[in-house]
């Protein structure tokens, strides 16, 4: 089934926030085509009557009680940040609101 185009790969790269070169996109398109052709075989046996498995074990209802635990000190929270200002994470300008 698959034949993934360079443009599709470019779209996926945008969705995944990966700024890739044209050469890399071309290479990925070729590789993904091979991989997808191989993995698409799952559709051969995945009939409508089979329930999907998202979790390997049938656990349900795992909760924590609503009890406060100590937070990190703000210095710890911010320690690894590439840029900090006013005890906040500093980020480059945001183009548009979500």
């Amino acid at each position: 089934m698959p034949s993934i185009t360079r443009d599709e790969v470019a779209h996926l790269a945008r969705l995944a926030r990966l700024d890739l070169t044209d050469e890399h996109l071309d290479r990925l398109a070729a590789e993904l085509d091979v991989i997808l052709t191989s993995v698409a075989t799952v559709a051969e046996v995945a009939t409508a009557d089979i329930p999907p498995t998202s979790h390997p074990l049938p656990l349900t209802n795992v909760f924590r009680e609503d009890v406060v635990h100590p937070s990190l000190a703000p210095e710890q929270a911010l320690a690894a940040a590439p840029a900090v200002e006013d005890q906040r994470f500093r980020v480059p300008r945001i183009l548009d609101e979500e």
């Binding site: 009890v67 005890q87 500093r90 980020v91």
Partner: protein
């Protein structure tokens, strides 16, 4: 931001030509002690990044664990909305990149919400009293809140033109319940009021449940307003806009009104409404376009593998059902009957946000009429001056009940009572403290009053003559002088009685 102001059709024309269809998505921030998936506290207004941990910062390797009380709150909201509680449901990841989201995915629920269907009856105010509208609920689901971004530099302090932004993750991971209505049809010209009434009723409901303080101005209750127009009720739905950032009841109403007018102008001009997200601006009363949905993200939802499914047992749901309080609508009906007030008066009480304080004041022994008089009169006036809700004034219902009791016993006149209330509001303590400190006491010594009356008569000889001559209405001048002389601490009715007796005329 668009440079051109939107063309608007007059509202009456818009709703005469088009049939508005509403959809409301309300996010309620739960008032749990801790976040949805970690033990960080949720207090509002803490210094930035002091309420974070590996999990809510999305540090590599961290994992979420569900807050039991958040799930219970979600189920209770669902039950109160007459929804079906899903016997089995999962969390899902909603994948998109945004700097306020630590993991670049939001843990939410997608096609398996905890609560499905249901309805909420709302009373829409009309000049003829309230009209009941049933709003059908599509679903209610759980998710986590994002962090808070502030934009720095540039001229406006807004996102556009900012040089960079700062992120505080204290809010990231606070539990949210998103309640989504089915399309609300057939509201016509009252669509804006229906939207407002729905949000108000939902707010009352979550407050009654005790699951959220639901303060819109603090963002603990937020509303997204979907509006579309069609030519008539038998026509297919039009293209909708989704307006975000609607942070007050009044804005809900105004945003719906604005979108109806804007879209009507587009359609009347032969244009096409664009499916997009718009932002409401409280200051200007406008909506402006955000990201167009036509280039929207593909959220790539899939079941959250780090959390196991929820399977609320029938027993658990039944147990939670037993914890439901009286619903706001039923409570209003009961109180209205108890207090013997008209639909219209009840509407005023509700609109003034005075239901809780009046009920509490009555519970503290006050007569309903007297309690109403205080909360809708003097206190409403002060609240209005201060720009707060009456319930937020620094006076307890018990204080008001005490003032009412002092008036009823004759210890205070209405004038004195107002001064007592002023004192309480000024932080001078309880009503009894204020009475004692300010020396506020009715002068009930007839001899002292007669002395003051004689003094006043002597100073107003002409008026005294007029009264003797039968112009009883002139007595007010003398009564006023006596009240002034006693610094308001006399009972005006008693003064008048004594005055007329002194002059030998009958009232």
């Amino acid at each position: 931001m668009s440079a051109q102001p939107d063309a608007l059709l007059p509202f009456a024309d818009a709703v005469a030509t088009f049939d508005p269809v509403l959809g409301l998505e309300v996010h309620v921030e739960l008032g749990t002690a801790t976040k949805m998936f970690c033990g960080c506290p949720t207090g509002f207004g803490a210094p930035p990044n002091t309420q974070t941990c590996p999990t809510c910062l999305g540090l590599p390797g961290s994992l979420p664990v569900v807050n039991r009380v958040a799930v219970e709150s979600a189920i209770r909201i669902g039950l109160a909305l007459h929804s079906d509680i899903a016997p089995w449901c999962r969390f899902a990841r909603k994948n998109y990149f945004y700097p306020d989201m630590p993991k670049n995915y939001q843990v939410s629920q997608y096609d398996e919400p905890i609560a499905v269907g249901g309805w909420l009856d709302v009373d829409v105010p009309t000049p003829d009293g309230p009209r009941r509208v049933r709003v059908e609920i599509e679903r209610a689901h759980m998710e986590e809140d994002t962090g808070k971004t502030t934009h720095q530099g540039g001229e406006t302090g807004r996102i556009h033109g900012a040089d960079y932004s700062l992120v505080d993750y204290n809010r990231a991971g606070i539990p949210l319940i998103e309640i989504v209505t089915k399309p609300i049809e057939g509201t016509g010209a009252s669509a804006p009021e229906v939207a407002r009434a729905y949000v108000a009723e939902l707010r009352a409901l979550v407050r009654a449940l005790g699951v959220s303080d639901a303060h819109m101005h603090q963002g603990s209750l937020r509303c997204d307003v979907n509006v579309s127009l069609r030519r008539g009720p038998d026509q297919p739905y039009g293209t909708r806009s989704e307006t975000k950032n609607v942070n007050s009841l009044r804005s809900t109403e105004r945003a719906v009104r604005y979108e109806i007018q804007r879209q009507a102008a587009v359609l009347a001009g032969g244009g096409r409404v664009v499916q997009e997200t718009r932002h409401w601006h409280e200051d200007t009363g406008l909506t402006t376009p955000g990201r167009s949905k036509e280039q929207a993200e593909d959220y790539r939802y899939f079941p959250e593998p780090d959390l196991v499914p929820l399977a609320p047992s029938d027993e658990w749901v039944a147990q939670l059902r037993r914890t439901l309080p009286e619903m706001p609508a039923a409570r209003r009906r009961r109180l209205q009957a108890d207090w013997a007030v008209s639909d219209f008066e009840m509407q005023s009480i509700v609109n003034a946000g005075a239901l809780d304080p009046i009920e509490a004041t009555v519970a503290d022994g006050a007569d309903p009429a007297a309690a109403r008089k205080w909360w809708l009169g003097e206190l409403a006036r002060v609240a209005n001056e201060r720009g707060v809700e009456v319930g937020e004034l620094p006076i307890f219902p018990a204080d008001v009940a005490r003032v009412v009791a002092l008036v009823e016993s004759g210890a205070l006149t209405d004038t004195l009572a107002r001064r007592v209330v002023d004192g309480v509001l000024a932080g001078e303590g309880s009503p009894d403290d204020v009475v004692a400190a300010r020396g506020l006491k009715v002068v009930d010594d007839d001899a002292a009053l007669l002395a003051a009356i004689d003094e006043a008569l002597a100073a107003n000889a002409e008026v005294a003559e007029k009264i003797r001559g039968g112009k009883v209405q002139a007595a007010g001048v003398v009564v006023g002088a006596v009240m002034k002389a006693t610094r308001g601490q006399a009972d005006a009715a008693r003064v008048r009685e004594l005055l007329l007796a002194r002059l030998g005329v009958s009232g």
